[in-house]
Symmetry: D2
Subunit: 436 residues, 4 copies
């Protein structure tokens, strides 16, 4: 976790105190059910909840000190709780194993993290939609391979981003379902010493599903799927970030990240305005992707479980979710305040002497009866001249002067092929598909 | 693609001929709709389908020769088709761009690959279920950290595997939905020269959904999600493979891969029976995981598209699906014919002098009023003696001889704690959860 | 392996026949030494080499047929050799284990592959050096963050690439040393049944170093390092490819991949010239990087060895080296024939109204006694005007008209700050560092 | 960075204060040289060093506050320094660019981190060597595929680990050379405003090499190679950790991690001693491997540089080195205190009824004139009986009772083949190779 790439709400979720609070809730809910079933006295859960109702502080330092001796975190915590609650605490954790607590806690943390991330995605989607509507019909050149192709609108670019993050939202919801399970099944998952009813009770209280079959641990294919999903979302963040970086290039300059007063782009070159937020996001996306790898390697635990996944999750649990939360929020800010330059878009669109309309002419020639090969040859020979003039010549003028072309298409017909609006007739269709 | 790790049906899907057949279908369906809309003459699709009805061979060599000149694969193919079909072929590909064909083809290939993989998973699930039922109550030691923990049944191990691959099946179905989309939207995705109705028609004919917004290409977050999902499935393959490898270790030997007549385990040591299939699967899983990475990097194409994803997909499209198909089938064979040794399982279970029952005694002591800390100490001091005797001593005997213990629990009560059946009382519950 | 991304020499190295030839050489050299030591009769190596001198064809199909029965590749090969050579062949493989042959063979293959790759790098370095010398003083804008910064020369860009690939060459040589070792140490590496002298002999004959301690297998940290090194080289390929792709963007167009007659950039837009070779290389780089991952996971074999690395190496051995060979050759072609446009470079350099000289002015102001903060403010307020005029205004003119500026610097002094040559005074120093 | 997996010396290297100290040194050394060359007054470096000599505290909070306004870290730092040093500070950073400072600082940090890691490796190598000498002739079973193969010694296992980490040491030294370079070359690497002599001076003072050609930044192929090397070392850590985990399995139990008083293996099962340190190391190795990936993606910066690498390095710079430092130290502790059980090793070695000697018999039969195929058949038929008896039968007894065998080998000859010492005759040779 890098502090400058962390936001408080998500970070708090991964603090020791937050973890211990969840541990307590799991133990208390379990004890409650055990009491209801007559396994432990009813005084036990009562003592626990009574103490909890006092809203006690969790003394992380004291718990750490106990762990330094026992070298076992859950035992350390239970020992500390017993010191606070007293005698009745001995019924806690009855028939359970540490992993019942640890894995269910991770489920709660990842579920809550997912809720924050879903809210992040909602905010990002809102920002993209707003800017897309704003620029629904702002003409700009569409590029492929970095080369001018045909006209699009800036709103279409954003509609694409919207659709992509909307898919990310669905994926994240599915990923949340993957990890939001509760396992309280004992040392090797047989419920030998704890009834399945306890698991069901705790699951319900914490808003989790019951893990159908656990083996001391919740199986790690769930977590692999979760972090792989975050990696895919990171890819989409990178995509939109790279788009902004391209748009801000000096020669393109169709959009810029917002540039605040007092901000200095370079210690040496005062004129520079660098797309540092999106460059930054590009790097963060690489990190979030990388975190998926150890999650994938974590799946193949030995037999009913080994604990090799645990050190990995101490890193990637917080690092992946905190960084993704930060990145989504930062990207939302970039989109929200993006400086868009329609004039420059138009200028770029016009810069190639009308070459962007070449395909329409090609099609018109074909429809006028010219063979595809001939039509291609006719268009290309004029297009090449324009291309080599660096946009100084006009494709329309050259075509009008080409006898083979005008034998098939009149000047009026040719002019009609250079109409920008022609390209935007289905923008509304696409918007309807994307924004509903 | 490594030939020895490839099966014919899946491999055929990725042969040039299969690709060209899909190309033709896309072009012909599109031309059909264009004719219906009056954009091209009705004679055009008729000519195409008439030729197709002759079940023509695709001359891959001839198409390659044309591509060597044009350096453009779709143009090369269309040129070759025109040579076969004649004059009417000039209406083909009207208003479309190469990517309309290429990306929709990849969607068809991945969807069909997914269908094969889903069938593979079904076969694997069947095999696991059958063996799980067979060994529902076969006792075996449950391990954590590779250390004996408490009794489970071999059926439970397999139930866990079943639940895991069942999740993989759901994930694969979701991943199939991700990539089964059709885009016929023209050079930059605006439908400038091809009506959305064409896309809808082709999509329906090919069993695909319509891509809401494409930008020449189908967005690559879809494919990233797809290959990431295959990577997760590979993780589950590795997990079960590692389990078999562990079970086949000389000292454990609770199960073995089937060993056929004539098979030689080692050129030097004739007695060796090595778990080579599952070792092999472990390596294949590493490969399938690796293929997800470039798919994740493919998402951030430049602007409306660049073509950097294409060379990646020429590798991972076939390599990931062919290898996964092979791996699932091989794993199914391993499970189906696995030699299971219940006697050895029992022997291992008994090898530790009853230590596996220590937790029950611990709980019983607590319930009999001993504090948790004291109970832990009492059990541990006896357990340690058994442990250090390498299983020569019996925990039950030692406990019976420990006055502090017998002060809380009678000999009869102690004996009851060493009953194996106690651990299996919820096997049925778990089986019901997993197998329904 | 994707056939279109493979070159014959490298591919041949990974054909079964090439592998069997190396197997034979290892076995024959080992038998030779064994005979010299009196372990086997001298007639044994003689029979082997006599047969070999007839330059026999390797019957891959026959060997495969034997393997289908024995399920063991080395035994199958030795059986086939025995059929050819006769009686004396029974002394072959004495005291050796399959891995002695397999791992030493892989070492030979990777060493030979490295030699091809080193030659590829030499060719690439030659091409870069030639173009660097050609454009040593061709002015072009240096960019950071994609934003114009200060002038550089195109030769400097290439010098950077040269230095980078020169480092890659050193790394590859080191990586070659890592994997070029011979192990003939028997079933668990103890030389129990084969004297270390045999290993030394075979190593010398094959140009390999002796593996100090093997454990049936050559340790896989060597291969991990090897494939990780290829991954780093792939990164450098991507870097130069991305540079070309940027230079070829429509708005930049300072260089282009060579565009041959007959080549069609787009089926729809005849004017398009896309940087498809370098986009392609970008994707190939992603693949080569991905192959490093399973190599890293291969290190942790179980005990003295498991065979999980083997299936991985069947993929990545050929795929990584063949693809890298192809990519290096393709990149060499791109550099060799790159169309460079100095006029356009100059035009882009001039496009920002002299902003690229702002830092010099800033320094001059400081040296003239203005505080750094004031100097920054003075330059920035004028730079911003130029920036917002989209290059229509001239920074020099504005500075001349700014009283606060001219209070510190005269018009002559200001003009001197806009001299392009100023920036190139150390080009020669850098070239001397890089090219020696 | 996970606090529990961090050691103070390495962590301190990545604290803001450490970074700022290096920044200061770079700026001060550069100013020194500039003064020597007459570019700035000699009073400037004097003022800087005088202030430095007071051993001032770095006020990280104050610098952060300035950065919050300027949004530029180097400017913020220089502003703060100017506040401390006064007037003369305006000559600092003359002609330099932020990256000159940032990249050279990273070089210093990574070089220092490497020195710590090299010391860690030395300590690990010492521990391994000591334990290897101790168990040079401790017999243990060698395994392949997890299956018993032939005898080795425990010292040989450790010799293998020693050789592997010795290679890691060489690799790390090479990797250190890769990144220990200094670049002070100005905004785009042309030395336009800063003489190369400044770079040379700073490089020498900081113990770095001069970067031959930088482009504002030090090229990131260097860092990719660095982090890839750490990933390879992580693989070796995982390998030895997995070995320990296997040895500690209940059924194997040939060695155990040291188990301290007060340590509790499981909250439920008091007898459990889990290999948690090496499981932990396995997970940490996964993380260190993962960090190599974004480093590889960082290579392809745009043009002379973009800043996407920066956010990545804020993570992996500290996280990879801190975790590796911790892991190496932890592994050293594991090796140092490893509980080794020679009796159990012998017991396991004997458990298979002498099957581990089968190859020697096979060879002896061949040498006695039996064909390889017959010899294999004779050994295998007896070996299979032993195998199926689960070690109850003795291979030697069976062979003695097999007439076809005794026709070739006498009882005395057979007995000689079962001598353990036979396998250890080259242990000394191997130790000499490894330990010199």
């Amino acid at each position: 976790m890098v502090p400058r790439y962390a936001r408080p709400e998500m970070s708090a979720l991964w603090e020791p105190e937050a973890k211990y609070r969840i541990w307590f809730e799991i133990e208390a809910h379990a004890t409650e059910k055990l009491a209801e079933m007559g396994v432990v006295p009813k005084s036990a859960p009562k003592a626990l909840w009574d103490w909890w109702a006092t809203n006690p502080e969790i003394d992380v330092v004291a718990i750490d000190a106990i762990e330094a001796v026992t070298k076992h975190d859950v035992i350390a915590f239970l020992t500390w709780v017993a010191e606070q609650v007293g005698e009745e605490a001995r019924f806690v954790h009855q028939g359970m194993t540490s992993s019942d607590v640890l894995d269910t806690t991770l489920a709660v943390q990842l579920a809550r993290a997912s809720d924050i991330l879903l809210a992040d995605l909602d905010a990002l989607l809102d920002a993209i939609r707003r800017r897309a509507e704003e620029h629904k019909y702002t003409p700009t050149i569409g590029r492929s391979h970095g080369i001018h192709a045909e006209p699009v609108t800036f709103g279409l670019k954003l509609a694409q981003a919207y659709a992509e993050f909307d898919r990310c939202r669905d994926r994240l919801k599915a990923a949340r379902r993957e990890i939001a399970t509760c396992a309280i099944s004992g040392a090797v998952g047989t419920f030998a010493n704890v009834d399945p009813a306890v698991e069901a009770h705790v699951a319900e209280k914490l808003g989790l599903a019951v893990e159908p079959v656990s083996t001391q641990v919740i199986p790690r294919d769930r977590h692999a799927m979760y972090f792989a999903t975050l990696a895919v979302i990171a890819g989409s963040i990178e995509r939109l970030s790279v788009e902004v970086r391209h748009l801000q290039r000096t020669e393109v300059l169709e959009a810029e990240e917002y540039f605040s007063k007092g901000q200095k782009g370079s210690s040496a070159m005062p004129h520079k305005r660098n797309p540092i937020l999106t460059e930054n996001l590009t790097g963060q996306a690489r990190m979030i992707r990388a975190y998926a790898l150890p999650a994938l390697e974590n799946v193949a635990l030995w037999h009913e479980r080994d604990i090799s996944h645990s050190s990995v999750e101490r890193f990637i649990g917080p690092d992946a979710t905190i960084t993704l939360d930060f990145a989504l929020a930062r990207l939302t800010g970039v989109v929200d305040k993006l400086l868009v330059y329609p004039d420059r878009m138009q200028k770029n669109l016009d810069a190639m002497g009308g070459l962007v309309h070449s395909q329409r002419v090609l099609l018109a020639l074909t429809q006028a009866g010219v063979s595809r090969e001939d039509a291609y040859r006719l268009v290309q020979r004029n297009a090449m001249k324009v291309w080599e003039s660096d946009g100084a010549l006009s494709l329309l003028d050259l075509l009008k002067a080409d006898d083979e072309v005008t034998a098939a298409l009149s000047h009026d017909e040719l002019e009609e092929k250079f109409d920008l609006e022609y390209h935007f007739k289905h923008v509304d269709t696409i918007f309807a598909r994307v924004f509903g």
